[in-house]
Subunit: 326 residues, 2 copies
């Protein structure tokens, strides 16, 4: 972002397009959110109506910051988003998302500013690089631990989009090649099947069933256990809950050791609910990484957690896409 | 490489610095080797003497092409090479290679031209991008199948060096997490332990010992079997030899499926002795890839073998480093 441009057009718009809500924010170059609004994502049969409703909601906050001429660009973080084509592709869990939807182009025409789109984890990586703990870093890997395991890879200061715009799906490297857990992607043994929120809950159910060890988690309905409850129990010193975290952290650390062979990052940045457990999860990750990483990479990567406020991180990440647009 | 510069300085020097021989070539922008020379790598106690002998040998072929003013730069492919610092680090199998040796700087001062250095597999990737099957590609992965398994990763048209200059060690992703074969790196279960030339020979010994199947390979001393002999037997239709290739190819294909999640490459380019077996090894790689790759990446990557002449590929790869220097 050049300084003169930042003065003339000091803001970007970020859209965190989720399965339920679409949250908009107007953000300055320091990552301060100046105004925010939201609409329901699913309330529209056609994408044209979704964009029209978005622009109507946006217009109010755009006026609050001095009008569209104060805004440089817009970035969107969305599922199944293709950065190169500016489209959402086969987002079957969104009513208006079937087929190939040219969302960036539609917003760009409606608002008269450049618009870019990418998936949530890639947006998170750009957000950390622009406003967060990865400021100034040229080589790092963002790992988002949520319902799924997402990732954004930054090499030479650029996000890795690959030949098709979809690169950075590290949640789907195969960690268990024989009898691995089934994954939402239709394959088995993926990192995501073990280290996502649902993966951690499944680990909890398996460990509860396969051991006699007393645990606070035994007071809960096993089918309804969440990773948050595992985290709370672990924080209270519950041994079984900590074993669940050690198992999860070990797999993440071993995966990161493989990732290092690719791009020798200066940091792994973690984001998501699981990271709230702090050292209870981060220490097992670090230990497994140190035990497994190739000698030449030992001690070179930091293990960090996002410094962005969880509630607004997705909007910030999306908005950060906008600074590089012209 | 800009055209005007190429006309004034039409050549680059490539040095393939191996454990036994150091081979030099003077190369034009089309990848034609105009002159070549070589010295023994190990014949010198001090790096100063190695560089002096290199320059003496080089001077003859430099004069042949019209003098040093015709030469733009020099590239070196060497073990343990760090692109960022221009050094060879702890190359303990080279007499003069202990500690940190500033080889790029030494050649640059001796010749008066810019010099860059990287490891052989990275040089091979740049060679394919400059003169070979990856011309025009912005995202691909080079995999060299030799004594070890090396790799060079190209993202957005740039080689991935990582935070330290050593990125691209895909031979050391862990493919077998329990009871994996020991690897030269001191760890276990690495791709290299299975798919290098020595890995293939080990697979041959294991399969011969664990089956009663008749095979041409049974006529050989098991301890001395080479991957070349497996290749020859497979080419003659030997069933056990083909089983060895299917095992090797399956592991490479599954590894490539993981690699795709990183950078969604438009191609995997293979180089090395094993690739001479052609479809006998490439088909199992492709089949395992198709069976294991994430749906979104299916059918997007080509599987290619190097188009560069094996004997001169390393010199060409090293030389290609020179074109981007100034």
């Amino acid at each position: 972002m050049s300084n003169s441009q930042t003065i003339l057009k000091p803001y970007v718009i970020g859209l965190d397009l989720g399965g339920t809500n679409s949250v908009f924010g107007i953000v300055d170059s320091r990552g301060d959110i100046k105004a925010t609004t939201a609409i329901k994502t699913q309330g529209f049969e056609h994408v044209e109506d979704y964009v029209a409703a978005s622009v109507e909601a946006l217009q109010i906050i755009i006026d609050q910051v001095g009008g569209i001429e104060k805004i440089k660009a817009m970035g969107i973080g969305a599922p199944n988003a293709n950065y190169y084509s500016g489209t959402i592709e086969q987002a079957t869990n969104i009513v208006w998302g079937k087929g190939i939807v040219p969302l960036a182009d539609m917003f760009s025409k409606a608002l008269g500013i450049p618009v870019a789109i990418t998936n949530d984890a890639n947006a998170a990586a750009i957000g950390e690089m622009t406003y967060g703990v990865a400021r100034g870093m040229k080589n790092f890997i963002m790992i988002t631990l949520g319902t799924g395991v997402g990732s954004g890879v930054v090499v030479n200061g650029q996000l890795v989009y690959g030949c098709d715009g979809f690169a950075g799906e590290l949640g789907h490297v195969t960690m268990v090649r024989e009898n691995g857990r089934s994954c939402g992607c239709g394959r088995t043994g993926c990192l995501e099947a073990y280290c996502s929120a649902t993966g951690v809950a499944r680990t909890a159910r398996e460990m509860l069933a396969n051991s006699e060890k007393p645990s606070l988690l035994r007071d809960l309905d096993p089918e309804a256990i969440t990773s948050l409850e595992v985290s709370i129990a672990a924080g209270k010193g519950d041994e079984l809950a900590n074993e669940i975290f050690r198992f999860t952290g070990k797999m993440l650390g071993e995966a990161c050791a493989d990732f290092a062979t690719f791009c020798s990052p200066e940091a792994f940045v973690f984001f998501g609910g699981l990271t709230k457990a702090g050292d209870l999860i981060m220490n097992p990750i670090r230990e497994a990484y140190d035990a497994h990483v190739l000698n030449i990479f030992k001690g070179k990567a930091q293990f960090l957690t996002s410094s962005l406020d969880g509630a607004s991180a997705a909007v910030l990440g999306a908005s950060a896409l906008g600074w590089d647009l012209r």
